[in-house]
C-alpha cells in the first residue's frame, strides 16, 4: 500500500470515528449517535489502544515480552490524578507521565536486556507487582484501596472538556497524533532496524545495528505509550484505585495485542476493541466471560498465531496485501 493510500484510509477512518457518537438527525440523517455510556466505551477503547500500541511496539516489533503495561498505565494515571488535583495543568501532567514512564523503561530495560531473552519478561513481572504494592500501600499519596476520586476533565484553550463528546474528540485527537508518530517511527530507519531485528537478529547485528540499544529504546517508548494512556485514563473514569493496574490486567494487555495481531499496525486497535467491547456484548454470559475468552485465545494461538489481522490478511488476495 502506498503512503498516500494509507493516509487517505487513515483520514477517512478518523472522520467516521469522529462522527460516530454524534446525533446526525439534526442535519437530516437517520443516525441517532451514541449515548453517554456508548461514548465512554468508545473513549475507553481509544485509551486502551494507545497502551496496546506500546505493547505492540515491544512485542511485535522489538521481539520482547512485557508484563507490566498496566503498571505503566497506572503510573501515568496516578501521576496525572495527583498533580492535576494540586493545580498542575493537564498538559504538563501528560508530558510528565510520558517522560517519567520513558525513564523508568530505560532503567528497567537496561539490566534486563544485558542478559538472555525472556529476562525482560521476568523483570517487568516483578515491577508490575511492586507497583501494585506501592499503589495499594502508600495511602498518603494514592489513597490506598479507597483510590482517588473526582479527578477533573481537563480544558483545552479555555474550552472545558466536561462534555463527553468533546472529551472523546480530545482523546481521538491525541490517539491520531500518537498513531501517526508510531507509524513515522516504524517507517524511519529506526523502524526498519526493528523489522530487521525481528526477522533476523544475527544478521541485523552483523550489519551494524546496535541490537540492545534499539531494543531498549523500543521498550522505553512502549512504556511511555502506556504512561500517556494512563494520563488520559484518569480523567476519563474520574476515579482510580489499584485494581486495574495489577498483574492480571498487564497479562490481558499482552493477550489483546497478540489476539489482534502482534507486529501488524492495526493489531492493537482490533485487540483493544475485542478486549473492551467483548465484555459488554458477552454480559449475558456474566461470570463465564473470562473462561470463554481464555479458551478462544488458546484455540487461536494453536490455529492462527498471527491474530485477527493476520487472519484477515491471509483471506485477502496476495496482490492486495500491504
Amino acid at each position: 500500500m502506498s503512503t498516500r493510500a494509507a493516509l487517505l484510509i487513515g483520514l477517512s477512518a478518523l472522520v467516521v470515528l469522529a462522527l460516530l457518537p454524534v446525533d446526525l438527525t439534526t442535519v437530516g440523517l437517520p443516525y441517532p449517535g451514541l449515548r453517554r455510556y456508548g461514548t465512554y466505551i468508545l473513549t475507553l477503547w481509544l485509551v486502551t489502544a494507545i497502551a496496546a500500541m506500546g505493547v505492540n511496539l515491544i512485542v511485535g516489533y522489538a521481539g520482547q515480552e512485557t508484563l507490566a503495561q498496566a503498571a505503566f498505565v497506572g503510573i501515568g494515571a496516578y501521576l496525572t490524578a495527583i498533580t492535576t488535583k494540586s493545580g498542575v495543568p493537564f498538559g504538563v501532567a501528560f508530558a510528565a507521565s510520558a517522560l517519567v514512564t520513558f525513564a523508568i523503561g530505560v532503567v528497567l530495560g537496561f539490566p534486563a536486556l544485558r542478559v538472555q531473552k525472556h529476562y525482560l519478561a521476568f523483570v517487568t513481572l516483578a515491577f508490575s507487582v511492586l507497583c501494585w504494592l506501592v499503589f495499594r500501600n502508600e495511602q498518603d499519596w494514592t489513597g490506598g484501596v479507597m483510590g482517588i476520586r473526582d479527578i477533573e476533565r481537563p480544558s483545552l484553550l479555555g474550552l472545558s472538556l466536561n462534555n463527553h463528546i468533546r472529551f472523546y474528540w480530545f482523546v481521538l485527537g491525541i490517539t491520531s497524533v500518537l498513531t501517526f508518530v508510531l507509524s513515522w517511527v516504524l517507517r524511519s530507519p529506526w523502524g526498519r532496524a526493528f523489522t530487521a531485528l525481528r526477522e533476523n537478529p544475527l544478521r541485523a547485528e552483523s550489519l551494524g545495528i546496535d541490537v540492545r540499544l534499539y531494543t531498549l529504546l523500543a521498550f522505553a517508548l512502549g512504556c511511555a505509550y502506556g504512561g500517556m494512556a494512563g494520563s488520559l485514563y484518569a480523567p476519563l473514569v474520574e476515579f482510580i484505585d489499584p485494581s486495574p493496574f495489577a498483574l492480571g490486567p498487564s497479562l490481558i494487555f499482552m493477550l489483546m495485542v497478540v489476539i489482534g495481531g502482534s507486529g501488524t499496525f492495526l493489531g492493537p486497535f482490533v485487540g483493544a476493541g475485542a478486549a473492551v467491547l467483548l465484555p459488554e456484548w458477552l454480559r449475558a454470559w456474566d461470570v463465564y466471560y473470562l473462561l470463554i475468552y481464555a479458551v478462544l485465545v488458546m484455540v487461536m494461538m494453536a490455529v492462527f498465531p498471527g491474530g485477527i489481522v493476520g487472519l484477515a490478511m491471509r483471506s485477502l488476495p496476495r496482490r492486495a496485501r500491504p
Binding site: G248, V287, M301
Partner: protein, 292 residues
C-alpha cells in the same frame, strides 16, 4: 535466637514446597523450552481436585490425595502436553507464552465459577502438635512437610542421576538432537518431564494448602515465587531451583516477622531484581553462551 531458629525452620518448610514448584518449572523449560506461566495455577489446582474427590465422590482423605495426584498427572501432565503445548511447539515461543497465560486464566476462573470463590480449609496429614527440642518449638506438621518435600527432592535427584531413564531425560534436556541420534526416545522423555512437573506441582499443592488454605487466586503468588526461585537459583539447573526455593521460603518468613507485612511480598521481587543486576546466571548457574 530461638525465635530466629524457629522462623528458619518454618521458612525451610515453606521453602521446600516452593522448591518443588520451581524444579518442575525448570525441568519444563529445559526439556521443551516451555515457559509455563500457569505454573502457579498448577500448584493451586490439585488441592481442589482432592476437595472434589472428598466432597463430590465421597472418597476418604488418603484416597482423595491419591486421586488428586493421578488426576493432576493426567490433566496437568498428559493433557497439557498434548492439547496445549503440542499444537504450539512449531508456532514459536510467543504463542506458547500467550497460551499458558490464557490457561492460567482458564484454571483460575474454572475453580472460581464451578467450585467456590471462598478460601477452603484443607485437612492435614499430621496434627499441629508442638514439639520442643532444646528450647525450640516446632510443630509436627511443619517437620512432616519439610521431611516429605526433601524426600521428594532426594528421590527426584536419584531418579535423574541414577537411573537410565533419568539420564536419558537429562540428555534430552541438554541436546535433543544428539540425544535422538544416540537412540534416546526424545518424545517419551518430554512426556515424562510433563508428568514429573504435574506430580511435583500436586505434591506442592497438597503440602501447602493446609498452611495457606486452598483458594482460586493462590496461583498468582505461588507462580511468581516459583519463577523467582527458578531464576534466583539459576534458570538452567535443578539444584538452583532447590536453593532458590529454600532461600525465598526463609526470607519470606523472616520478612513477615521483621519487615512490614504490607511489603512482605516485595522481598522476593527485590531479590530477583538484585540477582538479575549482579548475577544474571543465578546463584548456582553457569554463565550461558549468548545465543546470538
Amino acid at each position: 535466637m530461638t525465635d530466629l531458629l524457629q522462623l528458619l525452620i518454618a521458612g525451610l518448610a515453606t521453602g521446600a514446597i516452593y522448591a518443588l514448584a520451581a524444579i518442575g518449572f525448570t525441568l519444563l523449560w529445559q526439556t521443551s523450552q516451555t515457559i509455563n506461566f500457569a505454573q502457579g495455577e498448577f500448584v493451586m489446582m490439585p488441592a481442589f481436585l482432592a476437595l472434589i474427590a472428598m466432597r463430590w465422590l465421597g472418597l476418604p482423605f488418603w484416597a482423595a490425595l491419591l486421586f488428586s495426584m493421578l488426576a493432576s498427572m493426567l490433566l496437568l501432565g498428559v493433557a497439557f502436553r498434548y492439547i496445549v503445548v503440542g499444537p504450539l511447539i512449531r508456532q514459536g515461543v510467543l504463542p506458547l507464552v500467550i497460551s499458558t497465560i490464557a490457561l492460567s486464566i482458564l484454571l483460575k476462573e474454572s475453580v472460581k465459577d464451578f467450585y467456590s470463590a471462598e478460601a477452603q480449609p484443607f485437612p492435614t496429614l499430621l496434627p499441629d502438635t508442638p514439639i520442643t527440642v532444646a528450647g525450640i518449638t516446632v510443630s509436627l506438621a511443619q517437620l512432616g512437610v519439610l521431611a516429605t518435600a526433601l524426600l521428594t527432592i532426594a528421590l527426584l535427584q536419584w531418579f535423574l542421576a541414577g537411573t537410565l531413564t533419568g539420564r536419558q531425560m537429562q540428555a534430552t534436556a541438554q541436546n535433543p538432537t544428539v540425544a535422538r541420534l544416540l537412540g534416546v526416545p526424545v518424545e517419551r522423555m518430554i512426556l515424562y518431564t510433563f508428568l514429573i512437573n504435574a506430580a511435583l506441582a500436586a505434591m506442592a499443592s497438597l503440602l501447602i494448602s493446609p498452611i495457606y488454605l486452598a483458594k482460586f487466586s493462590n496461583g498468582e503468588t505461588l507462580g511468581l515465587i516459583a519463577f523467582v526461585a527458578a531464576i534466583v537459583g539459576g534458570f538452567n539447573q535443578v539444584r538452583g531451583a532447590i536453593v532458590g526455593g529454600l532461600l525465598i521460603g526463609v526470607l519470606d518468613n523472616l520478612a513477615a516477622a521483621y519487615v512490614s507485612t504490607a511489603y512482605r511480598q516485595a522481598i522476593p521481587l527485590i531479590l530477583l531484581v538484585l540477582v538479575i543486576l549482579f548475577r544474571p546466571q543465578g546463584l548456582l548457574g553457569r554463565r550461558e553462551e549468548r545465543a546470538v
